[in-house]
Amino acid sequence: MRKVYLDNNATTRMRGEVLEAMLPYCKDIYGNASSIHQFGRPARKAIDGARADVADLLGAASAEEIIFTSGGTEADNFAIKGVVHALRSKGNHIITTAIEHQAVLNTCKFLEKEGCKVTYLSVDKHGIINLDELKRAITDKTILITIMYANNEIGTIEPIEEISKIAKEKGVYFHTDAIQAVGKLAFKVKDINADLLSMSGHKIYGPKGIGAIYIKKGTKITQQTHGGHHEMNKRAGTENVPGIVGLGKAAKLAKKEIPEEYKIKDLRDYLYKGITSNIEDVRLNGHPEKRLPNTLNISFTYLEGESIILNLDMEGIAVSTGSACTSGTLEPSHVLTAMGVDAVNTQGSVRFSLGRYNTKEDMDYVIETLPPIIKRLRTMSPLYDKK
């Protein structure tokens, strides 16, 4: 059976070049990068090189603005908690959005219990925030604005440059969770003018368990992981050398190949066209244009998402859904709900997230496989016959 992986916003397949780059650091070069002897020195050198490659991808002014973490979630936690701790005497108000990833939302919820006030900005039907609402939300107690660059579920891209402009005017730090944007969109941190930015390795064809946070020079942030003097005294713990090397390699490849990522848009639009010309009552979730080139989130009205993805899985196609049943909490997608998508269409949402390994043949296979599944499930749905 053909296998088609369309869940690249969940994780990507690691590139062969990345694995090759990592292998020596899993085997012969095993020294602790903090050791000054011959076993440690090459590890240190590799970390320095990877830091420069990540800084280059992000367009950072210096490699010292990059701190390696265990992944995107830790980067988000560090950015938000770190700023809140550092600016405690200045204020306690955070502004974020209703559609952030759980790594940001649940960090904010935790901080609310610790006495922070959090504003969750609403979004329009395409998932874009309202800049006036953001301006109005800022008070003299606001210490951080944290807004994602692009949404993981629907791919909508937020007006990051306008947001950071507003933040700068008010003298408030701006953090962006760019985990889905890095490697897919060409940008430089100095252009988007972010003070802090989170990224992850495994979303850009790199390894899992590694990520990074960009901290603009001079940004006040309190260390969250205490221990040794690693990562310029910002994040303690013996460095994950193979992971860091892998992230560096993935970053280097991503910088070179971002134009290829944009080409994925053609495949994605071909898939969308193929689906909508064969199946009725399909709605697109997310912005029609301001959207990640690889992301297609659509609702198959009258159906529940898990029943669709299980059927697709049986045919070798891997996708994900915003339905309550697969969330682990039995809550439907908070992103679609915040966009005002009704309950039925939220339950019936399916995310196709493409990657560099997908082909036109993959798309044709999905276009051909989906209609009978949707038809069969709809004959089973009590909502469909009311139509």
């Binding site: 009258y302 159906l303 529940e304 898990e306 029943s307 993805i309 299980l310 899985d313 049986m314 339905s323 309550a324 049943c325 697969t326 682990g328 039995l330 439907p332 009704d342 309950a343 039925v344 339950q347 004959t379 089973m380 749905s381 009590p382 909502l383 016959d385």
Partner: protein, 131 residues
């Protein structure tokens, strides 16, 4: 999640039994709502000896919701109303070789759909004898 479904659940999900409607149903049960993610409609046909001769369903929901609908309609066929009332959600789940903990509510929904259909049948019968 889906990875934890038993073989029996997957069997009923892949090829559900008793999908459809009974145009002259003796009772129809409607339970659930789209917010929680599951809606079940269960039809029963009851003969004059109070035996359920046929059962069908239509379900909007996840794999477990479809499998429990399929199983509960299998279980009630040939049972009397009294016997059917004793079919619990646990019996449905057990017949499916168990359900993931987070999906147990689907078996509860199946039991509720069955009760709702039986209540509808009883109401109709009452109205008929009163009329």
């Amino acid at each position: 999640m889906e990875g934890q479904y038993s073989e029996k659940v997957m069997e009923h999900f892949r090829d559900p039994h008793n999908v459809g409607e009974i145009p002259d149903a003796s009772g129809i049960g409607n339970v659930g709502n789209p917010v929680c993610g599951d809606i079940m409609r269960l039809y029963i046909k009851v003969d004059d000896k109070e035996v359920i001769t046929d059962a069908k369903f239509k379900t909007f929901g996840c794999g477990a919701a479809i499998a429990t609908s399929s199983m509960v309609t299998d279980l009630v066929k040939g049972r009397t109303i009294d016997e059917a009332l004793r079919i619990s959600n646990m019996a449905v789940a057990e017949a499916l070789g168990g359900l993931p903990k987070i999906k147990m509510h689907c078996s509860v929904l199946a039991e509720e759909a069955l009760r709702s259909a039986i209540n509808d049948y009883m109401d109709k019968k009452k109205k008929k004898s009163a009329g």
